[in-house]
């Protein structure tokens, strides 16, 4: 499948899965969709018939809250039926909100941030010791980079020269309550990774060509690679983009779902079939003047401590 088509389907599944389940994190699912699509369509070596094949590339989604994107990619890649995606979050389902290794094709369970890079580094180190040729890919969130353990792993990977390890940071510049800058302003992120000794590449993380070029560039011998992928949180649905509300909110019945689907259909690749609303929504409900849309929901919009505040300096 073409990566553009897979990205569209990941987003469409994500909208449907969170809509049906009331699940969180659609903003993160949308922002990471292009990264996941390029990886599964063009980069990762795997065989759905043999999910544990020793020569497969390893992949860890360390920002496990965007798990729906992986489930969608795995289903579309043939690991299990896409029909099962509708069970996400449901009683008795295999598809927990955060990524589970009990699902075929998933190498590692995540959900608590700051674990995935370390596990990936361990896998990469073992592969080096055993002279195996596969690569280990891991996707981190930028908010996740608040976790100290990420930087323990960054030191470790650089020290042991794990050039078979590729880390992609989904740098959507937002986290749970606010922008990254307004939370723990440790930026620019790429400079930090460079300082930790990593081969550091910056791309537009919603641009497939740029992602593909970065992911197919030859490794720098002796250095792990990080691709700092600048993305837009909520990418693909205008009212979700860069609105922190959609870190937790799910598309409800009514205008939220209808408008999201309608917007997606405007950019649907011609050769993709929407499995849920094949012809779009005929008469979509639209937001009225009271709708909570295009507003600033960041903490800093309403949080004004007297003893500390960047606006004072302005």
């Amino acid at each position: 499948m073409k990566s553009q088509n897979l990205a569209w389907l990941i987003r469409r599944h994500g909208i449907e899965m969170t809509h049906l389940s009331g699940g969180s994190h659609i903003g993160a699912i949308m922002s990471v969709a292009d990264i996941i699509a390029v990886l599964y369509a063009d980069i990762l070596h795997f065989d759905p018939a043999e999910p544990k094949a020793d020569n497969r590339d390893r992949f860890i989604l360390s920002k496990g809250h965007a798990g729906a994107s992986i489930y969608a990619a795995l289903a579309e890649s043939g690991f299990f039926a896409t029909e099962e995606l509708k069970t996400h979050y449901q009683n008795g389902s295999r598809l927990s909100g955060h990524v589970s290794h009990h699902v075929p094709g998933v190498d590692f369970s995540t959900g608590s941030l700051g674990h995935g890079l370390s596990a990936a580094a361990g896998m990469a180190l073992a592969a080096k010791q055993d002279k195996k040729q596969h690569k280990v890919y891991v996707v981190l969130g930028d908010g996740e980079c608040n976790e100290g353990s990420v930087w323990e792993a960054a030191l470790f990977s650089a020290h042991f020269e794990l050039d078979n390890l590729i880390c992609i940071v989904d740098h959507n510049h937002m986290q749970s309550l606010d922008t990254c800058d307004n939370t723990l302003s440790t930026f620019p992120l790429a400079g930090i990774w460079r300082g930790f000794g990593w081969n550091t590449v910056e791309v537009d993380g919603n641009d497939h060509e740029q992602l593909r070029n970065a992911l197919t560039a030859p490794a720098v011998p002796g250095k792990p690679t990080v691709i700092v992928a600048h993305t837009t949180k909520g990418k693909g649905v205008s009212f979700m983009e860069n609105d922190i509300l959609w870190h937790y909110r799910f598309p409800h019945d009514g205008w939220e779902y209808d408008l999201a689907v309608t917007e997606m259909h405007r950019v649907k690749p011609a050769d993709v079939v929407d499995p849920y609303t094949p012809d779009g929504i005929a008469d979509p409900i639209m937001p009225d003047e009271n709708a909570d849309i295009y507003r600033d929901h960041t903490t800093s919009a309403t949080y004004h401590p007297t003893w500390f505040g960047k606006e004072k300096a302005e």
Partner: protein, 306 residues
């Protein structure tokens, strides 16, 4: 005990190249024989226990049998979630080795006293918890966890630097080991505090009391069979651990007893749910907090007279 562990692991690792040690920058003078003999099976992960533990899980999922190594609370409490999510949940072959269970690093202060580790590790599903009491148990436990598929915790003490048991040909994870058969009172001991229990037994002998004695090198899975049998044939069970009383070995025994219709009464010896504020060596602190051979003896006599 730690030298026995290292020596044993070198033997095993020479036969199995997938056995590796990953240390959190500790083991000066201890691990040298390992890295000299088996440099390709040794990694110093630096002072970064969270990464050490998750990386060990990643290595284990690729077929390695990884022993993480540090002291006190660093390989356990510092990286608890990594043990839970990354090692145990993935059934990863990671063997967590702590040197210095209890008051081993007495004078170094509270940060270095591992007094809640048994309780915390015991709370995790799919983690074997082992606390050998002497050199023979340490060797047998090392071999047993190396063979075990899954996540284990090995708590090594200092002291216990002698051999209680002549040999343990039938050593098994989950089995208590009989040391002597007596009557009325039974003492169950886990870990290096057994040397204090030996002293207790000598003092008891002087007053005509001959307890049954077991060591429990495995705290989880606990040997319910032995506990049930002794609880039915003895009047009192005394548990001894160099560890807090909340949730530790004594608690594990109590859980088994509580589910019996009737059973021997229980006296738990351990740290009385507090942090140590005193400065002193292991023997001193054991005595101050009621875990020396003499203090255990006095508590038993006090209970017997009740």
């Amino acid at each position: 005990m730690r030298d026995t562990f290292v020596r044993t692991l070198i033997e095993l690792a020479k036969e199995d190249k997938n056995i590796e040690i990953v240390t959190g920058d500790l083991g000066f003078g201890v691990l040298k024989p390992f890295w000299e003999a088996l440099p390709d099976q040794f990694i110093n992960a630096g002072i970064a226990e969270q990464n050490m533990t998750s990386a060990a899980a990643g290595m284990a999922l690729e077929g390695k049998n990884v022993f993480t190594y540090s002291i006190g609370n660093f390989p356990t409490l510092r990286c608890l979630e990594q043990i839970r999510n990354d090692c145990a949940y993935h059934h990863a072959n990671v063997k967590i080795v702590c040197v210095g269970g209890g008051f081993v690093y007495g004078s170094l202060g509270m940060s270095h006293h591992a007094m809640e580790d048994i309780a915390v590790m015991r709370a995790l599903p799919d983690v074997v918890v082992m606390c050998p009491g002497d050199l023979v148990e340490a060797e047998a436990a090392t071999k047993a966890i190396a063979k075990h598929q899954g996540t284990c915790y090995l708590r090594l003490g200092r002291g216990g630097e002698k051999r209680i048991h002549a040999e343990l040909p039938d050593f098994e994870i989950g089995k208590a080991i009989p040391v002597q058969t007596g009557e009325r009172i039974a003492i169950f001991s886990t870990g290096a505090i057994f040397e204090e229990v030996e002293e207790t037994c000598n003092l008891l002998k002087d007053v005509g009391i001959y307890p049954t004695v077991y060591t429990f090198p495995t705290v989880k899975p606990i040997d319910t069979e032995v506990i049930r049998e002794i609880a039915s044939t003895h009047e009192m069970i005394v548990t001894c651990e160099e560890h807090n009383l909340s949730g530790g070995f004594g608690s594990a025994v109590a859980e088994v007893l509580a589910e019996m219709p009737s059973h021997a009464r229980l006296l738990r010896i351990g740290m009385n749910d507090q942090y140590s504020t005193l400065v002193g060596n292991q023997k001193y602190l054991r005595d101050q907090y009621g875990m020396s051979g003499k203090k255990i003896f006095e508590k038993i006599i006090h209970e017997v007279k009740k």
